[in-house]
Amino acid sequence: MRTTDQAGDVEGGEPVPDDAEPSDEAQDRAGGATILGRITASGFIAPAAGLIGIFLIFPALWTLYLGLTDVRLTGAAAADPQFVGLDNYTAALQDSLFWNALVVTLIFVLGSAIVGQTVLGFTLAWVLRGWRSRTRQVIEVLVILAWIMPGSVVAFLWIAFLDGRDGTLNAMLPFVTDTEWLLENPLTSIIVFNTWRGTAFAMLLFGAAINSIPPSHLETARLAGASGWQQLRDVVLPRIRGHLLTALLLLSMWTFNLFTPYLLTQGGPNFETEILPIYVFREAFNFGRLGYGAAISAIMLLINLLIALFYIHVLRERNS
């Protein structure tokens, strides 16, 4: 079946004959015969399916298995890991640093993915929509630069930017200060950092979504006397809700799994910026507790799944 959005786009296309059932077309399409036989089709899919199995599904299952053992990076438990059941999981739930990491991660996601990238990205896209092409292109290029540069380069730039004695930020501030931003406001720093880094993607996505709204829809609202906010609430947001939720889903999951803040703060000071990926890294590779790290990874997988299910549920609600 067509979704509401597609069926709403008859303008500009062929006119629907009066009183015709709008679903005729869709039914015709579904009735077509398959071009390839089942076996040939499976043959074509097999290589891709095989690669997915080897590189995605197997490691995921292997991680689940490792999470149930006491395997270590080195030593006796590396050569001969023992099955320990759910010990790793119960240990995690009793580790205050695990809970700390979870809370820090949630704040990080909320601050940089949802408030930062999504809200800022949308605001930029909405404000820039009416701008003339040249100015807009320059801004877009600048913002996208932040997005395409390698994480390690960006991390170095931000360390230089936020440095206490010679940092660009302190030099730019109108008052004299030697604030060590990464030490004194570490979580805020990495939230701002990740917002800066990911806003371009959100802006491009929302810009495309806003452009997909026919100008006449906004003009009709303007002629009715709708303010900018009313246009946004009544015309734009309902129309791009799907884009919005998809972007939120992607941005939250990417941010949830992001390791780059490690390059700025290594999780410190005093675990204040230790998000879950850094916690896993520290446990698994600094302390060599591979089994425990695998268990935490499995928990992260579960949380990702919950985030995804939540958004998919909200998306479904809209279509029903």
Binding site: G8, P15, P17, R132, T220, A224, G225, D234, P238
Partner: protein, 369 residues
């Protein structure tokens, strides 16, 4: 209800495109006024300027007594119907129709009552709780009109509202629009590139080209007495015959190498050896036996059925002349062609203007050299 007055309106887009060029226009209260022209002639820009969706580079627009040139669209009390209808897919029909009322903070019961009335008058009563996607093109178009009607504006603005409909529906929609506008008596500006729509709907119409109005008047007048060659060639579902011709010393016209008399209304107005364009609608021509005095002679080459009559193309020397007749000749047959003199128009080939009988008024002097 209000009249619309446009004075010296100019719109230049960044990049240098001059869409509207120093244009003056008065649209009377309650009038159905069409803006007709080829794409890019500035008609839509003019309409959008009246709506307030474009800011004029220069000039003044007033609606009723009020100068609205610098007033935002929402405060102009106009309603516009767009070519793509601009229905909100996430709202039911009733909410779409009532949206302008909602923005103006009418109570919910008032909104629904007025939306219901507007829908009823456009036979949409059954469809109030559907989404636009579940409507046919014709129904969507009527919802868009209902939204404008429920708004009760002083001016309706239509931007090619029928061009997304198929031919049969377009005729129906034309009839109901005309009737609706007559019933409501709201001043209406209607933009179209379809000359038959403009002729059928308008009380008055303006033909535009390159940001200027070429002719303004009642449809009958624009159809039968186009004041220049562009209007003459643009109006008419079967194009007008426009034939290069020269006046002769003995008071005749040389047309496709043949001599025909100067049409009655123009007698004594033309000096010899003047280049003129002979304009005559195929509907005003008739076929005669070949070599009839005063008629052009040629070979019938094609006869196309128009319905009740045929459109016959006659080759006279190297020009093609078209005539509508109920009794078509067989192709290849020699025939004579004659046009009713009262309907023939002569244009000055150089300045492309209609040659008028009346001695030129002060502002209308044209050198006849």
């Amino acid at each position: 209800m209000a009249e619309v007055r446009i004075e010296g309106l100019t719109k230049r887009f960044p990049g240098g495109v001059q869409a509207v060029d120093d244009l003056d226009l008065d649209i009377e209260d309650g009038e159905f006024f069409s803006l007709l022209g080829p794409s890019g002639c500035g008609k839509t820009t003019l309409l959008r300027s009246i709506a307030g969706l474009e800011t004029p580079t220069a000039g003044r627009i007033s609606i009723g007594e009020q100068d609205v040139t610098r007033i935002p669209p929402g405060e102009r009390d106009v309603a516009m119907v767009f070519q793509d209808y601009a229905l909100y897919p996430h709202m039911e029909v009733v909410d779409n129709i009532a949206y302008p009322l909602k923005v103006r903070k009418h109570s919910k019961s008032d909104r629904h009552r007025r939306a219901g009335e507007a829908a009823e008058s456009l036979s949409l009563g059954e469809l109030l709780n559907r989404r636009p996607a579940a409507l046919s093109g014709g129904q969507q178009q009527r919802v868009a009109v209902a939204r404008a009607v429920a708004h009760e504006p002083s001016v309706f603005l239509f931007d090619e509202p029928l061009s997304n409909l198929d031919a049969r529906l377009r005729l129906e929609a034309r009839t109901f629009l005309k009737r609706l506008q007559g019933d409501l008596g709201v001043s209406t500006v209607y933009v179209t590139h379809d000359q038959s729509e403009a002729l059928a709907l308008s009380d008055r119409m303006a033909v535009m080209k390159d940001g200027r109005i070429r002719q303004i008047g009642a449809p009958e007048e624009v159809f039968s007495r186009p004041t220049d060659l562009f209007v003459a060639s643009f109006i008419g579902s079967v194009p007008m015959n426009l034939l290069a011709s020269t006046t002769t010393a003995d008071g005749g016209l040389e047309l496709a190498g043949q001599r025909v008399p100067v049409p009655g209304p123009y007698e004594g107005m033309l000096e010899p050896n003047r280049s003129v364009t002979f304009g005559a609608r195929p509907e005003h021509g008739s076929l005669t036996p070949p070599d009839t005095p005063g008629a052009m002679t040629g070979l019938a080459v094609v006869a196309e059925l128009l319905g009740t009559e045929h459109l016959v193309t006659v080759e006279c020397g190297d020009v093609m002349v078209r005539v509508v007749t109920s009794d078509p000749p067989t192709p290849g047959e020699p025939v004579g062609v004659r046009f009713e003199e009262a309907w023939v128009l002569l244009f000055d080939t150089e300045d492309e203007q209609l040659i008028r009988r009346e001695p030129a008024a002060a502002g209308d002097v044209r050198s006849t050299g």
